[in-house]
């Protein structure tokens, strides 16, 4: 779900709650409502300038439309709307609006149609009991990034992909989400529009295209013999050393790229165990795990394929196909020399079945041997750049309910097991200890059983978030394992006085962090935490409960 979808869902949710509230407040035999005027201006939140031709709307329930109490059979009252466009001075005016509770919306291309924090009254609730003509509604302009991609000779390069990536911290990890992409046109020009608040990293990579299917005896080569390596703005070869484009809402930013065309090589191989009559998707990932767009082609009569014009290096070739509601996939590593690579064989197969065996040990709270403890198991795909929401493959079960994870395609996954009444004492995939490193590489064929041992109980760590001042309600506390920051964390939310309690904590060494606000902490990256000056506090957890742990609030005082 992207930001806009989230916003729309939030709108739907807000409306639902709002209608419920109104229903609860409904009064029988309400007097005829009064009407009022609601007027104001739309302004650019950055420049303060008025914005003409903005669609402004009011939506909600006037008092007279509220469903009378005691008549549950009555149809739900309609949501009413008023709409207008602002005039040349950015002014809008709604006359004869019934008294009631309304919400105000505004949108125009080039502006975000969801409010910034504290940007009332956009989407704010307006209790209309008197005329108001003084509304000032700021709209935040979006960012547009345009530019030109040229080769080392200054010639425009067409058909290359430019992605806008935004760094996000999810569960203490930084990942990059592709928020927009564009292809250069014949002049080498691209335009990334409607970018919401950034900053953004820009990536230029190869031609993005569907896998071309041909039939017959031959596979006509698509190679042109030249390629380039992905470039991150401004001139970096990888994401880690890239700089974001400065965020400047309302401005059209310009970011030109020069890419160095070099000799390109092609991968040739044969696909096996595929359906000749269904489309095949061929993809290439580089050594950093990033998808490298490339021209791919398959002869569906013979299975021969070509991935054309790739810079020499190490890659993973991936193939997939949907056949009768089943996804077949296969992958193979390839080292591409300047002369190309050939003879690669890719076998397509259904995803593997990963059986899971759960064992519970220890005593329950009643002192008796622990009963069956339900656990949920999820395989989260490990990606560096998220181009689409990838749902984890998950299942739930327990000691007496053996489970399997079905049709798991080859790839790298982070194994996450959670339970509400204990901690994970052991997590093994064959001989691999996933409590040392929870990343599981699934290869075609068969996969080892996941052995999970749940220890009932565990220690309780309680204490207080320390801050110079302020309300600490909603502050987050997290315990990160000193053994590996990749392991599942234990977290909680503080009470207003800063107190917290974390239960079912496994014995071991941890570092505890606390923070609050919208910004997230990259707590799984010790060097990023050190760079941000967030030290946290060391916590040693034994088999018994730990009390009075004091965790400093990152950034000092609460907001």
């Amino acid at each position: 779900m992207n930001l806009r979808q989230t916003a729309r869902h939030a709108v739907a949710l807000a409306l639902g709650c709002f209608l419920l509230c109104l229903s609860a407040r409904a009064q029988p035999d309400a007097p005829p409502p009064q009407t009022f005027t609601l007027a104001g201006h739309i302004v650019n939140s950055v420049t303060g300038a008025p914005v003409p031709r903005v669609l402004v709307w009011l939506w909600g329930l006037p008092q007279r439309a509220v469903k009378p109490e005691g008549n549950p059979e009555a149809p739900p009252p309609p949501v009413q709307t008023h709409e207008t466009l602002t005039d040349a001075s950015g002014a809008f005016r709604f006359e004869e609006v019934a008294a009631g509770t309304w919400r105000l919306g505004a949108k125009r291309p080039g502006f975000e149609d969801w409010p910034e924090e504290g940007q009332a009254p956009l989407d704010a609730r307006i209790d209309l009991t008197a005329s108001r003509e003084d509304l000032r509604v700021p709209l935040r302009p979006v960012t547009v990034i345009t530019g030109r991609v040229a080769d080392q000779d200054g010639f425009p390069v067409d058909g290359v992909t430019v992605q806008a990536l935004r760094a996000e911290i999810v569960d203490g990890r930084k990942l990059f989400h592709a928020y927009g992409w564009a292809q250069t046109d014949d002049r080498g020009i691209y335009r990334l529009s409607n970018l919401w608040r950034g900053p953004y990293y820009l990536r230029v990579s190869g031609l993005s295209a569907r896998t071309r299917a041909v039939f017959g005896r031959v596979l006509p080569s698509q190679a042109t013999g030249e390629s380039f390596r992905p470039v991150y703005y401004p001139t970096s070869p990888d994401l880690d050393s890239a700089s974001p484009v400065n965020d400047a809402p309302g401005q059209e930013l310009h970011a030109d790229f020069t890419i160095s065309m070099q000799a390109g090589a092609s991968v040739h191989g044969v696909l096996r165990s595929f359906s000749a009559s269904q489309p095949v998707k061929l993809e290439l990932d580089n050594a950093a795990g990033e998808a490298v767009p490339a021209r791919t082609e398959i002869n569906q009569s013979t299975g021969e394929f070509e991935i054309a014009d790739v810079a020499p290096g190490s890659y993973v070739v991936k193939a997939s196909q949907s056949v009768r509601d089943e996804t077949l996939s296969g992958e193979a590593p390839v080292t591409l020399a300047p002369g190309g690579a050939s003879g690669l064989t890719l076998e397509l197969a259904p995803g593997v079945e990963i059986p899971c065996r759960i064992r519970v040990q220890g005593q329950g709270e009643d002192g008796e041997p622990a009963a069956d403890v339900p656990a949920s198991i999820a395989l989260e795909p490990v990606v560096k750049i998220e181009t689409a929401i990838q749902e984890p493959i998950s299942s739930q079960g327990g000691e007496n309910a053996p489970i399997s994870l079905h049709n798991v395609p080859p790839g790298k996954y982070r194994v996450e097991v959670s339970t509400s009444t204990g901690y994970i004492a052991q997590l093994q995939a064959g001989s691999k200890d996933l409590l040392q490193n929870p990343v599981l590489t699934v290869t075609p064929g068969t996969a080892p059983t996941l052995d999970i041992v749940i220890q009932a109980g565990g220690a309780t760590v309680s204490g207080r978030v320390q801050a110079a001042s302020g309300n600490l309600a909603g502050a987050f506390i997290v315990l990160v394992s000193a053994r590996s920051p990749d392991l599942p964390v234990v977290d909680a939310v503080a009470s207003p006085d800063g107190s917290f309690s974390l239960s079912h904590v496994a014995p071991g060494s941890y570092r505890a962090y606390a923070w609050r606000g919208r910004a997230q902490l990259e707590y799984r990256n010790p060097s990023a935490m050190a760079l941000a000056g967030v030290e946290g506090v060391e916590v040693e957890v034994g088999s018994s409960d730990l009390k009075d742990v004091h965790v400093p609030l990152a950034g000092g005082s609460a907001q």
């Binding site: 709307w57 939506w59 466009l85 080039g110 067409d158 039939f215 017959g216 006509p220 080569s221 030249e226």
Partner: protein
């Protein structure tokens, strides 16, 4: 070398045993100069790619020097496709005279052939770009813009859609890489405050608000809503044309589609698609950008007029269910019940005559619609059978392709009407067809000569003397660099052979256009399994009339 039209290029792509490299171990130089076709100036830094059509050898690459010169120093004997790419130019073939068609001239290496003085005339691409706005100057984002060429397709002149695109957030569009010729541009869209664009739910304000019935009139360049009043944009190579379009805001009606529940169409995910279109220039269609209201297809503010509404359910990249209905939109909102029906299911077998024709076999089955530009290729199993995904309910010509030793002798079916070789799938249902191919194909090849010398790059046409109504019987071939032409896989029969200087706009499958050539061309009778070599002698070019 390339046969006329992309369709025949597909059909004939592997009909190339004569293109195999010679067993001789000698190599030859292929060299020349790249010049701009409009200025004759040399073009440096052009990437040239030499490919053998049967892919037996890896492509070879060269880059033109500062004076436009290029060289491939060690090329085996054979026929090769030479293409050029340069940033700012569209990829094109040697001998191509227009970017709008696929004709090219093959480079031929071998004893006595001079391939060291090639002149690759690189054609600068034309482009059409512009901005689509409403009558208040606001951009129409995600508006549909179609580009329609008035040119020759499948050997006959017609107006056909060559590209379409959607406008960006600023209402801008661009059609790059356009060949010289005559084009129509048309756009349809909705005001930004009414539409939320493809696949996105209409927002709350439009559900019943005061703008809910506003729409835009579709517009044909230069800003007319009447397709008959549209003017073509005539482009020469390298020209940039600007075509801004202003769509007047008008009251319209909301057209909602009720696709019924039986088809369980999910329009939100794109598995279900609803399309609204109106007739454009020359029988082409102009489409509305799709939009949804609470998951239901809804076209807001459709101006009064006659439209075609269609729905389909996609399975992969092909439809599995489909239906359409012509509607008359007036001033009132409409809900159109349009449940898509099952599409025809086609399966069958290829019958090779005479039986036991060795290892010769076709590789794919091609269906080409007689009613639209739809065509589809599907692999044939080793046992000669095929099971196609659901096909549109249209009339199709069916061909088996992939072998130059075969010709298509006809199609029969017990379950669908077949008229003049056209299978009618409009009745739907399970259709079984037999595709008859014959291993007794004839072949005609030779050279185009003028004054005893080979003439490369002329368009040789082989047409049946009596109209067969089957476009595959009409063949065109742009002669290779050694002046040769080749027509394999021919149906035995009576033909006429002639050549014209430029094939790019020649209606080689139009009997009316061909009529004068039936008398002046060379008569050729081809028996089953016959191979004939005929050298076509071209008249000396007429001397130019002196002008003052």
């Amino acid at each position: 070398m390339k046969p006329r039209s992309a369709f025949f290029a597909t059909i004939l792509a592997s009909l190339a045993p004569w293109l195999q490299a010679s067993p001789l171990s000698e190599t030859y130089r292929v060299a020349g100069v790249v010049v701009n076709s409009t200025t004759d100036e040399p073009v440096p830094k052009v990437r040239l790619i030499l490919r053998s059509p049967d892919n037996r050898t890896a492509p070879e690459f060269a880059v033109s020097s500062e004076n436009g010169r290029f060289v491939f120093s060690a090329v085996p004997a054979g026929k090769f496709r030479l293409t050029a790419t340069r940033r700012g130019f569209a990829s094109q073939s040697y001998g191509q005279s227009n970017l709008a068609d696929a004709l090219g001239t093959a480079v031929v290496t071998g004893p006595g052939l001079d391939m060291q003085h090639l002149v690759f005339r690189l054609i600068p691409p034309a482009a059409i770009s512009g901005r689509v706005t409403d009558d208040h100057g606001d951009p129409i984002p995600r508006g549909f813009v179609g580009l329609y060429r008035d040119g020759v397709l499948y050997g006959k002149r017609r107006v056909f859609e060559t590209q379409f695109t959607y406008t960006n957030d600023a209402g801008e569009y661009r059609f790059p890489g356009v060949g010289a010729g005559s084009y129509y541009v048309a756009a349809a869209g909705q005001p930004w405050y009414v539409s939320n664009g493809p696949g996105i739910e209409l927002g709350a304000p439009n559900a019943g608000g005061s703008f809910a019935h506003l729409g835009c009139l579709p517009v044909f360049y230069p800003n007319t809503s009447d397709p008959n009043a549209a003017s073509p944009i005539v482009l020469r190579p390298g020209e940039e044309a600007a075509a801004d379009l202003v769509l007047p805001t008008v009251p319209g009606a909301n057209v909602t589609v009720d696709a019924g529940s039986s088809a369980s169409l999910d329009f939100t995910s794109g598995a279900g698609v609803a399309q609204l279109s109106m007739e454009g220039v020359g029988g082409t269609r102009l489409y509305w950008p799709p939009s949804l209201d609470a998951g239901i297809p809804m076209f807001p503010g459709v101006p009064p007029g006659r439209y075609r509404l269609s729905v389909r359910k996609n399975q992969g990249s092909l439809p599995s269910l489909s239906g359409w209905q012509d509607i008359e939109v007036g001033s009132s909102d409409m809900e159109v019940k349009l449940a898509p029906g099952s599409l025809p299911s086609v399966s069958g077998r290829v019958v090779i005559d005479p039986p036991g024709s060795g290892s010769v076999r076709p590789y794919w089955i091609s269906l080409r619609s007689e009613d639209s530009l739809f065509f589809y290729n599907h692999p044939i199993g080793p046992n000669g059978t095929f099971q196609l995904p659901p096909m549109p309910p249209e009339r199709f010509r069916v061909y088996a392709g992939g072998s130059s030793a075969l010709y298509n002798a006809g199609v029969t079916s017990d379950t669908a009407p077949v008229v003049n070789g056209v299978v009618d799938l409009r009745g739907g249902g399970d259709v079984q067809i037999l595709v008859h191919v014959s291993a007794e194909a004839a072949r005609l090849h030779g050279y185009a000569l003028r004054g005893g010398k080979p003439v490369p790059g002329v368009f040789v046409v082989l047409a049946p003397r009596s109209d067969t109504h089957d476009p595959i019987d009409y063949r065109g071939f742009q002669t290779d660099a050694d002046g040769s032409y080749d027509f394999p896989g021919l149906r035995p029969g009576q033909y006429v052979l002639f050549a014209v200087q430029d094939g790019s706009e020649f209606e080689y499958a139009n009997p009316t256009v061909l009529r004068p050539f039936l008398a002046s061309g060379q008569r050729v009778d081809l028996a089953a399994s016959a191979t004939k070599e005929i050298n076509l002698t071209l008249p000396e070019p007429k001397p130019r009339t002196a002008t003052r």
